[in-house]
Symmetry: C2
């Protein structure tokens, strides 16, 4: 199989990296297990028609990355990726349940690709580099290092700097939530907020209802705790209330994790009626909602819908959001708000985990917000994202075969594409990567291993030219793999309750 | 008992706060349980000889802090402190084991006091405000926001910014450790590093050997995991090898958590021979050492001793340190280095917890280090800390009765004082607080509730004048409580293995 790998000489990805990537992708897709002896460099070089040193360089890269090991005279062998190892006999005593199993594989995969700089990337859902407001942030930082500089460089309250907590609460009040500064906990991004919430409620084996598919980072956090995610399918209006009720009634999960707005990865948005239904169900079954509103401010046009938190009065909703997507990820600043008895515990757990978030960053963000820089930034970036979304929609229309489905998001950073199930998503991904185009595989967003025929394509961080070229490449690869017979169904079994179409 | 509270009108602490503090201290000391009805404001005001509004203000403070609840017509009742609650019937579903129990009480107590600004504080072991190098840091931040500003405000690698990892590795190589940039994980302070390590190795119920007493934040992190700390007494040369061996042999803990240099709280330092003994024991029983070297750079005079990590070649030692103590806590930047198979897991767990530490802060710290600013900073601060240590030693000599013992640290930020066991540490603490002097109670550093007759007094963040006045106040209170008979033993039962003297 390796021997049949096609080298793409026109790809921006160096040949040795193409080879290493193909090996890893085959390994990750289950084609080769740990302990598998890689072909002799001479043999593989001959069958690929490349210089032997190129194969040696590919193997060296794998060894350096800890994915292969070389035994003199015996050859080069694959080793398990870090997180997939169940046991490491080289290290006595063993590890805890929190880090064994596949707990973190999904997030690892997506995060590594997201910060990769190879080729054209539709992976990382973050602001484009050229849209990062460096100078405005510099002014804000100078202010933070001014009169109160000493205070901002000392220990601060675990819950966050009072001024920033008040500014955040003010933004939430503007959106209809009845919260004050004391209701806010500043976190190191939304990921920490979610992780704190999950850990505050869930012990190993505890159930939690989730949308299927959902955010990879949430799945990873749940796996590291050992919680039991109960996937409930979504349609174009969000989570299916009829199926949600079955799960709530039968399994009585404590938590329900939702992204009602620009759901990641499907981009769907719960309408107000659906939001009311879901809130009603949560109340009836005494289930606490975790509302992840990472993208609420990334709407292209029109009014924001009321958040679940605002609709509910915050009684049974924990609200999580972040400045990573609407502003910049490098601050690692997010927040949550929760009913007081929950918030107290979240603050204590945060203190045990890292004492508190850096006060100087919080003070700089506060100065930034105070100057109205975030609104200015959004005014500049949202039209750009809209133009990129449209460029991607146009490219999909032009390049993808009839029968492929995709979404037309009203905001956010990416498009969700569904292909016929007969298309092998791993083969597509591996080949696309060799051709210099990266995207996020659908299965990373599923708790049950499904979604191999789905793709999440981020438009926010690529230029319209890159979008046109990258989508054209993908379209060509999809056409080459398009099922010849009638097996071009795009509906799939994506829920753990029963099979329903996603779109 | 409340009625007999003495109001100190000369204290810098307002009277209503003195009353609220006394109530909380009695509650924390077990004198009043949750549900206890506080005296009617009129009655308490009369017996204390204060205005009724002052008592009302004290109760309001307690209510605002969530420590009391008022029921109209029935009075004001104490409620459990957040972390002490086993169950909260107001919130359905209940919480996880990670946040129930007393998991975080110790750190909460010390951290809250540490950032308090009331009176003279010997609590927070951090640099004095006037020693924070704000301007030098501002220059470093400008550099970080310069040519690479955009990169530093985007997502970065979970393990940390390569330049900072290399700078940290370089500092460790200077101290004899054989590490490269790839061996370093940048964390949000040492607290996150310890928490990651503990969670990577320990499941609920797993044993870990610790020094008794030890760092409160480590105890809190262990309790939140549900690990079982096995306290091994320390003498003036550090952990007792004979007792350590008993624990290692009988209980086979996976981890041994140590602070070989300027041990917190006892300030003792392991000499080289003892370090060798401990390393030898760890090897024999296949126990991984977690070396917390938070204060290694805070030595007043002379050469640093080789770290356990350097002596061991890093084979069985995970090394943790921080820039919070030698530089400034507001950065929330620490690090760890670990053998490769362990480090991989730590990185994955860090990714699940918060994706990674803020790149912009890391870049600023790197620029700061590159300019030699940390060395300059240490040259300026260490003589100041030494002067403050000496001022505190002098004040102790002058004010404390013969028979009280204290340490003479060769570095670090505090002094450890041991009084006769007959002295009621809670009463002393409560009264000192009323008189406007704060310190850390010894029991916060013990896993077994002992240490009530011990005090940790931080000198780093107080002026020499404050030190003189604060220690004089404490000395007077200690004299007033000094046992009249022969019961002035200062040796105590501080280990969980057998009773041995601490000093």
């Amino acid at each position: 199989m390796l021997e049949s790998l096609k080298i793409d000489c026109e790809s921006p990805v160096p040949v040795y990296r193409q080879i290493a990537g193909a090996i890893l992708d085959q390994a990750d897709a289950g084609g080769m297990a740990a302990g598998h002896r890689l072909p002799a460099t001479r043999d593989l070089a001959r069958s690929l028609g490349v210089n032997r040193n190129t194969v040696v360089a590919a193997y060296d890269l794998l060894i350096r990355d800890g994915r292969a090991r070389s035994h003199t005279g015996r050859g080069t062998f694959l080793v398990d990726p870090p997180v997939a190892e169940k046991h490491d006999d080289n290290w006595y005593g063993g590890f805890s349940q929190a880090v064994t199993g596949a707990a973190t594989a999904g997030l690892q995969s997506i995060y590594r690709l997201a910060i990769s700089t190879e080729g054209i990337s539709f992976v990382g859902s973050y602001p484009a580099d050229e849209l990062i407001p460096v100078r405005a942030f510099e002014r804000a930082m100078q202010k933070a290092l001014g009169a109160r500089g000493v205070r901002n460089l000392s220990y601060g309250p675990t819950a966050g700097q009072p001024e920033l907590r008040e500014a955040i609460a003010g933004r939430m009040r503007r959106d209809g939530s009845d919260v004050g500064a004391d209701d806010v906990l500043v976190t190191n991004g939304a990921q920490q907020a979610l992780q704190l919430v999950f850990r505050t409620f869930l012990d190993r084996g505890d159930p939690i209802a989730i949308e299927e598919p959902t955010y990879t980072g949430a799945l990873s956090a749940l796996e590291s705790i050992g919680a039991r995610p109960l996937g409930v399918p979504v349609d174009e209006r969000g989570i299916r209330p009829d199926l949600l009720e079955v799960v709530l009634e039968r399994q009585r999960p404590k938590l329900l994790y939702l992204q009602p707005t620009f759901h990641n990865p499907t981009t769907c948005e719960m309408d107000t009626e659906r939001r009311q239904q879901v809130l009603e169900l949560a109340r009836r079954y005494r289930c606490t909602i975790v509302e992840d509103d990472w993208g609420g401010e990334l709407r292209f046009k029109g009014q924001r819908l009321a958040t679940l938190h605002a609709m509910d009065g915050g009684a049974h909703v924990i609200y999580v959001s972040t400045f990573s997507k609407n502003l910049m990820p490098g601050l690692r600043l997010g927040w949550l708000t929760a009913p007081t008895p929950v918030l107290r515990r979240l603050i204590e757990l945060k203190r045990v985990q890292d004492c508190g978030t850096s006060p100087i960053l919080q003070a700089a963000l506060h100065a930034f917000l105070e100057e109205g820089e975030l609104e200015r930034h959004l005014e500049q970036t949202l039209p750009r994202y809209l133009a990129r979304r449209d460029a991607m929609l146009t490219a999909l229309e032009q390049s993808f075969p009839e029968g492929a489905h995709w979404t037309r998001p009203r905001g956010g950073l990416f498009i969700w594409v569904t292909l016929p199930q007969a298309i092998d998503g791993n083969d597509l991904f591996v080949t696309a990567r060799q051709r210099g185009v990266l995207y996020s595989r659908g299965e990373l967003f599923h708790s049950d291993g499904s979604g191999r025929h789905q793709l999440r394509l981020t438009y926010s961080a690529a230029t319209t030219d890159e979008i046109a070229r990258g989508v054209a490449t993908l379209g060509q690869l999809v056409r080459e793999r398009w099922p010849k017979d009638n097996d071009s169904r795009t509906d799939g079994e994506t829920g753990s309750v029963e099979a329903v179409p996603i779109f």
